[in-house]
């Protein structure tokens, strides 16, 4: 990259901190991931970009001039103070994806979060050959969120964006394509789905095998796991707390749980639960 290039100072910054960055992100290499990137987007088209693959950083800062790729557009699904996770497409169907594919930065996961005046993105990726990594994402999304909190805490100096020399800029920010939040899922359709899929019995898997709970028992169990007492549940469901106690006794004997805490443990670990 040449000093006269527009994002030269941002590139230099990444070059300077890459050693420190690589130290901080050590944990991800144990998970068969190879590339990590951190973005902080501002509405004026400026962004902070850190990545442990310097060749890719150089390519991006020189050639990527907008955020209109399939991955970039997902920024509009970033929710305020909530993580939104996106598994990358399996085929490289636009320029940015093709470039990532050619750099062997593939099978990735992006996690977005919106704050009051910026959107953050944490990107994780591996190689083209590691094609079953999405199972890791599916089972360990909580771990990844832990990592993100850990990263933002440990790298707070690195991701501080006050010094504008650290920032790169999109020369082509499009027609206000930033921060137009739209829900990624159609909530009305999801509601329709929920209404259409009621069951009479709810199975939960216990160490002793599958146990069926009735609708009422499941309701009780759900409220118990929210920390409610029999009396409170009674009030909520408008039935006597004696009856609730009976339900709880039944569930305990069905699942062979000794006490409430154990019951909750079984309920939460059980993979077929739904509440």
């Amino acid at each position: 990259m040449r000093p006269e290039d527009i994002n030269y100072s941002a590139f230099k910054y990444n070059e300077n901190i890459i050693g420190g960055l690589t130290d901080i992100i050590q944990p991800i290499f144990n998970w068969d991931l190879s590339t990590f990137a951190y973005f902080k987007f501002f509405p004026n088209g400026q962004y902070l970009y850190l990545c442990n693959n310097i060749a890719w950083v150089e390519h991006c800062l020189r050639h990527v001039q907008d955020n209109d790729s399939a991955l970039g557009k997902e920024i509009n699904h970033a929710k305020e103070n909530e993580f939104y996770s996106l598994i990358w497409p399996t085929t490289p169907h636009d320029t940015l994806l093709r470039d990532l594919y050619d750099f062997d930065i593939w099978n990735g996961l992006s996690v977005f979060k919106k704050s009051s005046n910026y959107v953050e993105l944490w990107g994780f990726a591996t190689t083209r050959a590691n094609n079953s990594i999405s199972n890791f994402y599916l089972h360990n999304i909580e771990l990844i969120k832990c990592f993100i909190r850990y990263f933002n805490d440990t790298a707070s100096q690195l991701i501080d964006a006050k010094d504008t020399r650290k920032l790169a800029v999109y020369t082509n920010i499009g027609e206000g394509s930033f921060f137009n939040f739209e829900d990624p899922y159609d909530l009305e359709q999801i509601n329709n789905f929920i209404m259409a899929t009621n069951s009479k019995k709810y199975p939960i898997l216990t160490p002793r095998g599958e146990v069926l709970l009735s609708q009422r028992e499941k309701q009780c169990m759900n409220l118990i796991s929210f920390g409610k007492t029999a009396k409170e549940i009674g009030l909520e469901l408008d039935i006597s707390h004696r009856t609730i106690e009976l339900y709880i006794k039944n569930i305990k004997s069905k699942t062979n749980a000794q006490n409430k805490t154990e019951l909750i443990k079984i309920f939460r670990k059980s993979a077929l639960e739904w509440f």
């Binding site: 939104y84 599916l138 832990c146 990624p184 899929t197 805490t261």
Partner: protein, 265 residues
């Protein structure tokens, strides 16, 4: 063409009419294809699906499980519902065939039973790449559907005559059990959780790393003595941390804490 598989296919399509209304709610989620397969120890199977073209293809031309679904079988367990995201590229003949039928971006659930293995697959089209993120963020909805499907289809499956089972020509061994990294939940001590703020009835509260860890394990349903073992500290220390959290958050009981963790997922 295998005669017994043809017979099996002709039988399952007679059930299609009764099953279609069970599959219908999936349209709300843009999940085009759902299929259910039960494989018995002797290598025979029954396959139900809302995609009859695929059902036909499977009974007529699929001779084995393929490497990917074999792995799913091995990893299926009796007391846990496991799930498996399909790989990003078709790595075996069966996946290749699904891909050619424009059935892709799928996730499968597997559970082992005394007499065999049950597997449930959700999938969309080759282009619908966003659906995998939908699975990631909404896995509970898929589980809900499984509960619903099992209840509604139980009558049809209970009376299902063994003479109408299909057969994998190349055989299939579902008795092997394996534990693998593939679907494991990883614990990593290298990540120390930073000070973490949660919202409670007392307003925003900041927790120390240890307190956060304790609260996290509580939310996962761990018992105090299990947390003590996991974190390598004594039960009374855990009690001390939990008391601190209770003081900070204004919770009185253990169960209120659980409630709090749910709100602060």
């Amino acid at each position: 063409m295998n005669k017994s598989n043809a017979k099996a296919y002709h039988h399952v399509i007679t059930l299609q009419h009764d099953l279609n209304h069970i599959f219908a709610p999936l349209e709300y989620l843009k999940i085009n294809v759902f299929s259910y397969i039960k494989i018995l120890q002797n290598g025979t199977y029954v396959l139900l699906s809302n995609d009859s073209a695929w059902q036909k293809q499977h009974y007529m031309h699929v001779h084995n499980q393929g490497k990917f679904f074999e792995t799913c079988n091995k990893l299926s367990s009796e007391n846990q519902l496991k799930y498996f995201m399909w790989p990003s590229v078709p790595v075996d003949d069966l996946l290749l065939s699904l891909h050619r039928h424009d059935i892709w971006n799928g996730v499968s659930f597997g559970v082992r039973q005394k007499d065999g293995i049950e597997r449930f697959c959700f999938a969309s089209t080759n282009n619908a790449w966003q659906i995998t993120s939908f699975y990631l963020n909404n896995i509970d909805l898929l589980k809900r559907f499984l509960v619903f499907f099992r209840e509604k289809s139980s009558a049809a499956l209970k009376n299902f005559d063994h003479q109408y089972f299909g057969m994998f020509r190349d055989g299939v061994d579902i008795m092997q059990i394996e534990e693998e990294y593939f679907t494991h939940v990883v614990h990593d001590d290298a990540i120390t959780i930073p000070k973490y703020s949660i919202s409670s009835s007392m307003g925003g509260v900041s927790l120390s790393p240890r307190e956060t860890e304790c609260l996290y394990y509580i939310s996962q349903g761990y018992l105090m003595r299990e947390i003590a073992i996991t974190l390598g500290i004594s039960v009374s220390t855990i009690e001390y941390y939990l008391n601190n959290i209770k003081n900070k958050t204004g919770c009185n009981t253990h169960l209120e804490l659980l409630n709090l963790t749910k709100l602060n997922s």
